[in-house]
């Protein structure tokens, strides 16, 4: 449900003119809900940034998410896969 909630939130923010990037834990839900830009991450529910206290991993994931907003000229939906 969290994946749908953030996806719909991204859609509302983007519709108001502010670009968004959404992390996705379940690729199938990202495909169904269609947030404008999503980065699928291969981690379990509760662990979207990978692992607690692993600052290097968390930072790499965030940078990959931010880069999605830079790299894609649109239109969406964009769904990319992140691998460690």
């Amino acid at each position: 449900m969290c994946n749908q909630t953030v996806g719909l939130t991204a859609g509302a923010i983007e519709a108001a003119g502010v670009p968004t990037v959404t992390l996705a834990l379940l690729e199938s839900i990202a495909k169904a809900v269609r947030p404008p830009r999503a980065l699928w991450v291969p981690y379990p529910h509760g662990y979207p940034l990978g692992a607690p206290h692993d600052t290097a991993l968390q930072t790499r994931i965030l940078r990959a998410a931010l880069d999605l907003a830079v790299e894609h000229p649109g239109p969406g939906p964009v769904l990319a896969r992140w691998s460690p």
Binding site: T9, V18, T20, P44, L62, P73, P77
Partner: protein, 160 residues
């Protein structure tokens, strides 16, 4: 990897018949500035609440669709996990809130010059929302207006 098979039988049966809301048409707002000049906002659906702020109500049928502001200068270790779902492991994000609300990581990226800065206030939701009408009609327009008001150039959203 997150899998539906992690969930209880009751949740799996529910999800099997659940009709996911589809964004159509998909809006698109291009990034207007280089990333190093962008003020970045954060949304997390982990149900975190800052000290002194009303908790999410886990008894609301269909899910509590209200939202909370989280100041950029909050100490993430003081955030309280109010997420009602028992279908995932809370231990990681309770030990390290940045796992689901990566505010410290964003501040570090701002300090390193990767992004221009962090928005002065971020947004917390409790993502366990099955009935999305109140979320879409009331909360999401408010959340969108909030990010325009704080001058966010880009918003990062994190589910749990």
């Amino acid at each position: 990897m997150a899998k539906s098979s992690e969930l209880s039988l009751k949740n799996r049966l529910f999800l099997k018949t659940y009709r996911w809301r589809r964004i159509d048409p998909v809006p698109w707002a291009p990034l207007e500035k280089p990333l190093a000049e962008c003020t970045v906002g954060l949304v997390s659906s982990a149900g975190f609440v800052p000290p002194g702020v009303e908790a999410f109500d886990e008894t609301v049928r269909g899910g509590d669709s209200s939202w909370r502001k989280v100041s950029a200068d909050v100490d993430p270790s003081t955030l309280t996990d109010c997420h009602r779902s028992e279908s995932f492991d809370h231990k990681g994000m309770e030990a390290d809130p940045d796992l689901a609300f990566p505010l410290t990581r964003l501040r570090e990226l701002a300090d390193a010059g990767v992004i221009g800065g962090v928005a002065r206030e971020h947004v917390s939701l409790m993502g366990s929302i099955t009935v999305t009408g109140p979320l879409q009609k009331q909360s999401l327009p408010e959340v969108a207006a909030h990010f325009r008001e704080v001058g966010a150039d880009l918003v990062l959203l994190v589910p749990v």
